[in-house]
């Protein structure tokens, strides 16, 4: 029954997402204060106005009822209501999520494109200089937190003026022709993506290296080498697929890490992404927007894990057999 494994994973993911939404709702609901608190201080707004506003937005309802209403709103595609933006949350959220994906997807690709060849190469040259180079790269990058790396890159941008200092587009973006638009975007993307990729690289590199070393030590590689198979074919056709399983799981895991570091990088570079939206909405007590941002991030992570499961299913016949 081939579909069973995937169906199980899908069901599990849906349940997890549901659980995550309940947990987030509970956590944010526990927070003291709400969006209308500032109006209370304002003497020109009467208490009855605030009371009617609260009942209009359903803030005086008990928690389970509000959760149920939020769930219905999500099903309708609104995702609750943002008090600060005075509009349904979904369009705001979607724009920000796109920006975050614009950062994280190239960063993931970049990090993996460096990690796989470099990791394979350093594993093949075990205990020689490429190996030592990989070890140094890993421990150096691991010791520099994304926050500090981002600040350093930003200082670099500000001092040399080679790259724009934060933001997603230049001020005159809307008036540009298409070509300069994409160039402008790329210039703004470069440093944040570099920072994210550098933050992810040590994790990927160390796993690729460790898992390749393990496979290269096994007897079948020796046998293949004895048959006179070329080094490159040996590494990439024979060893890498055998080493791939933990790496595919790592791929899903890396998406979650990337979302967290993206929150930092967005904050430092002023990139209008999901992480910044979360910080803003927490500061403004914009309840539903905060819940949505967290749940959406969890959704991305779950999708990443699911994608890894599908890839694993496709790559490994042993899993298909179960």
């Amino acid at each position: 029954m081939p579909l069973n494994y995937l169906a199980r994973r899908l069901l599990n993911s849906a349940l997890l997402l549901f659980g995550a939404s309940v947990l987030t709702f509970l956590l944010v609901d526990l927070a003291p204060g709400e969006f209308f608190d500032e109006m209370r201080v304002n003497p020109r707004i009467s208490t009855s106005t605030i009371a009617s506003l609260r009942s209009e937005y359903g803030l005086n309802l008990p928690m389970p009822v509000r959760y149920w209403r939020w769930l219905r709103s999500v099903a309708k595609g609104d995702g609750g209501f943002s008090f600060a933006y005075d509009s349904p949350a979904a369009p705001i959220l979607w724009r920000r999520a796109q920006n975050t994906l614009l950062l994280t997807v190239p960063a993931t690709l970049l990090a993996w494109l460096i990690a796989i060849p470099f990791g394979v190469w350093s594993a093949a040259k075990s205990a020689r200089w490429p190996d030592a180079l990989a070890a140094i790269t890993i421990s150096t990058l691991l010791a520099i937190p994304e926050l500090i790396l981002a600040l350093l890159l930003l200082v670099f941008a500000v001092r040399t003026r080679l790259f724009p200092a934060g933001g997603a587009v230049s001020l005159d973006f809307s008036g540009m022709p298409l070509w300069s638009k994409s160039e402008d975007l790329a210039r703004h993307l470069f440093l944040p993506v570099l920072c994210l990729a550098a933050g992810l690289l040590p994790l990927l590199l160390s796993h690729v290296r460790a898992s390749m070393k393990e496979v290269l030590g096994s007897p079948f590689i020796g046998a293949a080498a004895a048959h006179g198979i070329s080094q490159r074919r040996l590494l990439f056709r024979h060893a890498l697929p055998a080493a791939a399983n933990p790496l595919i799981s790592l791929f899903g895991f890396s998406l979650g890490i990337l979302l967290s570091s993206s929150l930092i990088v967005e904050g430092v570079f002023g990139w209008p992404g999901l992480g910044q939206l979360l910080i803003e909405s927490i500061l403004q007590r914009d309840f539903y927007l905060a819940v949505d941002a967290v749940v959406l991030a969890a959704g991305f992570l779950i999708c990443g894990n699911l994608l890894a499961d599908v890839l694993l299913y496709w790559a490994d016949p042993r899993i298909r057999a179960t």
């Binding site: 997890l16 995550a20 947990l23 944010v28 890490i257 979302l259 927490i282």
Partner: protein
């Protein structure tokens, strides 16, 4: 036990940094909260050996900084008088110079507060934060992991499913969401411990999972079954026979979590959701870098950030050594070779 060279350096860095932070009152030249409003953004002090006539002085000295009348936060050295460096000065401090000269080793912030003193005092909060949060995380992880692993059945299901939900939220998103539970402006003194409890509570899931795994196998060991056969109580079994087997997992998790939680405090405070002014913390010191003019004009404000890198490097080195060491002698030599 002979330690490899790198771990010795790492341990030395850790001992030095923690020692300086612990004895911040001795090593820092000034009170971290004292403002020098006439010296905002003063650059790091220059320590001279040669005076303006090019004569060598055995005791190094500094000049007094005077704000230039022309523009904000530009200073000139007043060369008319030398202020020699003094050691073991009044107030039980290691280093100082006579007033009105100041010894700002890594400059001052917008209020003219000594960044070096703030860095050391701030380290108290940040390092303590890391330790407290780790204790909370591991405490919760041990209790919940032990209960789940030892009693099994529905408790196990419940705890592990909840752990899965905690793990599926990206860690920083979860941290910020939980941070939202606390009031926005926390009184600086003492209440920051609450923040640490939050950081710690967020991270219980991973240690709990690992500890549960160890306990599942540990409770089936023969000597545990024998002790149970002799009528040992559950609590006794857990305390005496089962939890000690999880100690290496707990230790390696601690080595992972402490730097991670130090960083969590730095990140929260950087975004203005952590320790509040006027208390210093490492995250607080970096928060001023969110302003572009600071980034552009006052490079020394970055120094605290750079000073954090060796600390994290040392933690990572100790961790990877510990991992190799606990995995057996074969991995130990591998560690010696690789690093």
């Amino acid at each position: 036990m002979a330690l490899p060279r790198q771990s010795k350096y790492a341990l030395a860095v850790l001992v030095l940094s923690h020692g300086m932070v612990l004895f911040a009152g001795f090593f820092s030249p000034y009170d971290p909260a004292v403002q020098n409003r006439e010296l905002p953004f003063a650059p790091p002090v220059r320590i001279h050996f040669f005076d303006s006539q090019n004569r060598l002085h055995i005791r190094p000295f500094v000049y007094r900084l005077v704000a230039s009348a022309a523009s904000y936060a530009h200073y000139e050295e007043d060369r008319s008088r030398l202020y020699p460096l003094r050691f073991f000065v009044a107030g039980g401090r290691l280093l100082g110079v006579d007033n009105p000269a100041k010894i700002f080793l890594i400059g001052t912030d917008a209020y003219g507060r000594d960044q070096f003193s703030r860095f050391l005092y701030g380290g108290r909060i940040s390092l303590l934060a890391g330790l407290c949060a780790t204790a909370v995380s591991l405490g919760l992880g041990i209790i919940l992991g032990a209960v789940a692993g030892f009693y099994g059945r529905w408790l196990d299901e419940l705890i592990m499913r909840t752990a899965e939900i905690f793990l599926v939220l990206p860690s920083l998103y979860l941290l910020f969401a939980v941070r939202a539970v606390l009031p926005l402006h926390i009184a600086p003194s003492g209440v920051f411990l609450l923040l640490m409890a939050v950081i710690g509570a967020v991270g219980w899931a991973r240690p709990a999972r690992l500890i549960r795994g160890v306990i599942l196998s540990a409770k089936e060991r023969d000597f545990v079954l024998a002790a149970r056969g002799f009528g040992a109580s559950d609590l006794y079994l857990l305390r005496r026979h089962i939890l000690p087997q999880a100690s290496s997992v707990v230790l390696s998790q601690a080595a992972v979590l402490i730097p991670a939680y130090i960083l969590a405090e730095v990140i929260l405070s950087f975004f203005g959701l952590g320790v509040a002014e006027p208390s210093a913390s490492w995250g607080n010191l970096l928060a001023s870098l969110r302003q572009y003019n600071v980034l552009e004009s006052y490079w020394w404000m970055l120094l605290p950030a750079l000073a954090l890198i060796p600390v994290f490097l040392a933690y990572n080195t100790v961790l990877s050594y510990y991992k190799c060491y606990s995995a057996g002698p074969a991995r130990q030599t591998e560690f010696d070779k690789v690093l």
